[in-house]
């Protein structure tokens, strides 16, 4: 089964998620139980890892697939279906996040994070629905 450049670049992203989980999640899990001040250094390390990983992966793809792939008419449909699913998961994730915050006693007296999160959800929902309405009227 031969894979196209687009499919391989999606596999690159999937592999990144798996690698990230295996390499960095144990640290963050341990940090959630025994907090220590290594977070800033770790964040910088993650940014560098991301830059190096994607630079190498996409460069390799460019070397292997010299010809640029033309835009295919299925791309928009595939992208919109996957982004729709992603958006739904982000919304669910944010509500789980708010629930976790509310469960944590130290956040119950500090409403600023919950306020900020809710503002973000409302703003994103408003923009998404407005854009959808605009597309219905004009597309």
């Amino acid at each position: 089964m031969s894979l196209s450049k687009k499919e391989l670049s999606i596999i690159v992203e999937i592999l990144f998620s798996i690698l990230f989980a295996f390499i960095y999640m144990p640290f963050f899990y341990e940090n959630s139980i025994n907090p220590h001040s290594d977070l800033v250094r770790k964040t910088i390390e993650i940014v560098i890892f991301v830059i190096i990983y994607f630079s190498i992966a996409y460069s390799l793809l460019e070397i292997v697939f010299k010809k640029t792939e033309a835009k295919d008419e299925r791309d928009d449909m595939i992208n919109s279906k996957s982004y729709k699913l992603g958006y739904l998961l982000y919304e669910i994730g944010l509500f789980v996040f708010i629930g976790t915050l509310l469960n944590n006693l130290s956040f119950q007296n500090n409403g600023s994070i919950i306020f900020l999160t809710l503002m973000l959800i409302i703003f994103i929902s408003f923009v998404k629905s407005s854009y959808q309405l605009y597309l219905h009227r004009t597309f």
Partner: protein, 65 residues
């Protein structure tokens, strides 16, 4: 009513691979595969390009069942 096609049969008769046909009409091999397996309904523009390339009338290439 389901939209079906005889794309695979005609394509093979004309001696095109999926990749060749895809390149000729401006789509990927995967799109041709999806059309042949009835998983994707092409736009009118793409359907007409395919019909033109294979030198067949569009209503013979695509039909409702």
């Amino acid at each position: 009513m389901t939209l079906k096609n005889i794309l695979k049969e005609i394509r093979q008769k004309k001696g095109y691979t999926q990749e060749e046909l895809g390149t000729n009409v401006g789509v990927s091999r995967q799109t041709i595969i999806s059309i042949e397996r009835y998983r994707y309904k092409p736009t009118l523009e793409l359907a007409m390009k395919i019909a033109q390339k294979l030198n067949i009338k569009i209503e013979k290439l695509f039909y409702f069942e």
